[in-house]
Amino acid sequence: MKTTFGSQNIEVNPSGENFIAVVDGKAVNVQIIRAAHGWMDLLVDGQRVTAYVSSDMAKRWVTLNGGTMMLTKTSGAKQGVRHEHAGGLIAPMPGQIRSVAVSVGEAVKKGQTLLTMEAMKMEIRIQALRDGKVKSVYVSQGQTVEREQILIEMED
């Protein structure tokens, strides 16, 4: 399986009971000693490596030797932001509301843009995940929002 984290490519494939990881054209042998619950004990070219790994969409949190790093998967993963939460559409990151395109009670189609926000110098369109009706709108133009703040609530 080929994956890209940031600008770094890695390919991991089974090889007998072990795995071969190829990075920058260099192959390393990886043996899994044990693995459970987001935790792995490996032998990487004979060296013992203990890692905790969690995944959240394209993000990977990895802890090695007590230090934690965050990697972002830029290929091999469906891109996108998770923006449904408890029946509401939530802000994927902190930012500012640029425009709200719908109002309470309005029927919307799957994929229709409900609002746009600006964050990290990008425009983000928040779209309906399915056909439905707008139950509540919690934000207005110009408002700054926090990550995971609920923007709009839908009913089916």
Binding site: M1, T3, F5, G6, Q8, I10, V12, F19, A21, V23, V28, V30, I32, A35, G38, M40, L42, V44, V49, A51, Y52, V53, S54, S55, D56, M57, A58, R60, W61, V62, T63, L64, N65, G66, G67, T68, M69, M70, L71, K73, G76, A77, K78, R82, E146, R147, E148
Partner: protein, 495 residues
């Protein structure tokens, strides 16, 4: 003794207080905002009362709702924790008016120490050393004269508050005017009061504070010092006791000064007298008194062997504090690291998210006071303190080694934390030698950044995809179909 106590707080301190209650056989009532309905402190309590919306003024700062919750649940007393209403004299008075016991000092003591300018004047009168400076200045001219007299650099700061708000360092006269205006505006916003005081700025000072403890029968002693000089943005992140700086003589004198300061306002229950300490002259100056339990109280508990929260409760119930000054000794060395959801490489800005991994360290001499668990949500509504990691060992060197090991074992995924940053702090020679002033972090760690992902991290991340989630891109930990998903919630608490 009380039958039931309402804890008017959240997070680790609410749980810390509830533990003391449980040991004493006292029932506990948690309060919570809508954002906290599945928080650990709500689960930990015997009963839990919803206060209102996430915003603190609708919930944890709402005096009326808190007192009604206590009355409705037939609680006898309210423990305010730290932060929120803990240093609010009106709250303490309102609690007593409702025939409930406020677990803390009297409203009068809180009021006397609450105003930075008033308390400084009070302390000067009582002969407690204070930082050279002036209060009650009105015109720009007054400020200018005062600053010239003190000598630059000077500090202008809000009379009404603390926590670094409305505070400006002024290095030369040309900067004074703007600094005063900015500080006034911040002070007005934060405390509704634009009064400022101006004082000598001690650049390489240490922050050393003395824990005091007393009962309602006139007994008041100190429980030695805490050194709290490792700060970022004027807020403490690492505290320890004993201070690596104090001689026994200075320690004793500072202790006496703190007891004297507290007695001046007829203090009882737990309190902390903060001093600025100049290592060059060994002079110490009264900074302020915190009329409540301090975040860093565990280092004092470990070093003195006393359970401060237990004694807070017993004293509030009218018991005598049975210890004399000579009964209290410092045993070994304790260090606390505050584990925050914040990004040290990005101005220590708070980080929010769901805790995808949360492994707390264990072991001899290791204590974790935590308010979160796997699957908890860290929101932007409140202070991003995840846990306090406290170690106790024979001496400072062993305590640092123990803390390094414990930080190594603390695994948090889902939010950025300051764990790796604190590990870096503990490896420096400055820290090991105890040469850390309150400005040390900003001058030393300005360019700090965490380790970049290396080959092993890349392999672990890629391999995890293969063996744990085999091509699925959804968060595997948060698998919604797993009945044992630790944060799958069924129903919600309606109380």
């Amino acid at each position: 003794m009380f039958n039931k106590i309402l804890i008017a707080n959240r997070g680790e301190i609410a749980i810390r207080i509830m533990r003391a209650c449980r040991e004493l056989g006292i029932q506990t009532v948690a309060v919570y905002s809508e954002a906290d309905k599945d928080s650990l402190h709500v689960q930990f309590a015997d009963e839990a009362i919803l206060l209102g919306e996430a915003a603190a003024k609708e919930s944890y700062l709402n005096v009326e709702k808190l007192i009604r919750a206590a009355l409705d649940t037939q609680a006898d007393a309210i423990h305010p924790g730290y932060g929120f209403l803990s240093e609010n004299a009106s709250f303490a008075a309102a609690v007593e008016s409702a025939n409930l016991t406020f677990i803390g000092p009297s409203a009068d003591s809180i009021r006397a120490m609450g105003d930075k300018a008033e308390s400084k004047i009070l302390m000067k009168k009582a002969g407690v050393p204070t930082v050279p400076g002036y209060e009650g200045l009105e015109t720009y001219d007054d400020f200018q004269k005062a600053a010239d007299e003190i000598g630059y650099p000077v500090l202008v700061k809000a009379a009404a508050g603390g926590g670094g708000k409305g505070m400006r360092v002024v290095h030369e006269g040309s900067e004074l005017k703007e600094a005063i205006e900015l500080a006034k505006r911040e002070a007005l916003n934060a405390f509704g009061d634009e009064r400022l005081l101006v004082e000598k700025y001690l650049a390489d000072a240490h922050h050393i504070e003395i824990q005091v403890f007393g009962d309602q029968h006139g007994n008041l002693i100190h429980l030695f010092e805490r050194e709290c000089s490792v700060q970022r943005r004027h807020q403490k992140i690492i505290e320890e006791s004993p201070s690596p700086l104090l001689t026994p003589e200075i320690r004793a004198r500072m202790g006496e000064a703190a007891v004297h300061a507290a007695k001046t306002v007829n203090y009882f229950n737990a309190g902390t007298v903060e001093f600025i300490f100049d290592p060059k002259t060994s002079q110490y100056y009264f900074l302020e008194m915190n009329t409540r339990l301090q975040v860093e109280h565990p280092v004092t508990e470990l070093v003195t062997g006393l359970d401060l929260v237990r004694w807070q409760i017993r004293i509030a119930a009218g018991e005598e504090f049975p210890f004399q000054q000579e009964d209290i000794h410092q045993h070994g060395h304790a260090i606390e690291c505050r584990v925050y959801a914040e990004d040290p490489a990005n101005g220590f800005l708070p980080s929010t998210g769901k805790l995808l991994q949360f492994i707390q360290p264990y072991g001899p001499g290791v204590r974790v006071d935590s308010g979160f668990t796997l699957g908890s949500d860290v929101t932007h509504f409140y202070d991003p303190l995840l846990a306090k990691l406290i170690v106790h060992a024979e001496n400072r060197e062993a305590a640092i080694q123990r803390m390094q090991t414990a930080l190594h074992d603390f695994v948090v995924h889902g939010v950025v934390t300051n764990i790796d940053f604190m590990r870096a702090v503990l490896t420096t020679d400055d820290f090991k030698q105890g040469h850390v002033s309150t400005r040390w972090v900003e001058t030393t760690f300005n360019d700090w950044s965490p380790a970049k992902p290396d080959l092993h991290a890349l392999i672990a991340a890629a391999l995890a995809d293969v063996i744990f989630i085999s091509g699925k891109t959804q968060s595997a930990v948060a698998n919604e179909t797993d009945p044992f998903n630790p944060w799958k919630q069924t129903g919600s608490y309606r109380n």
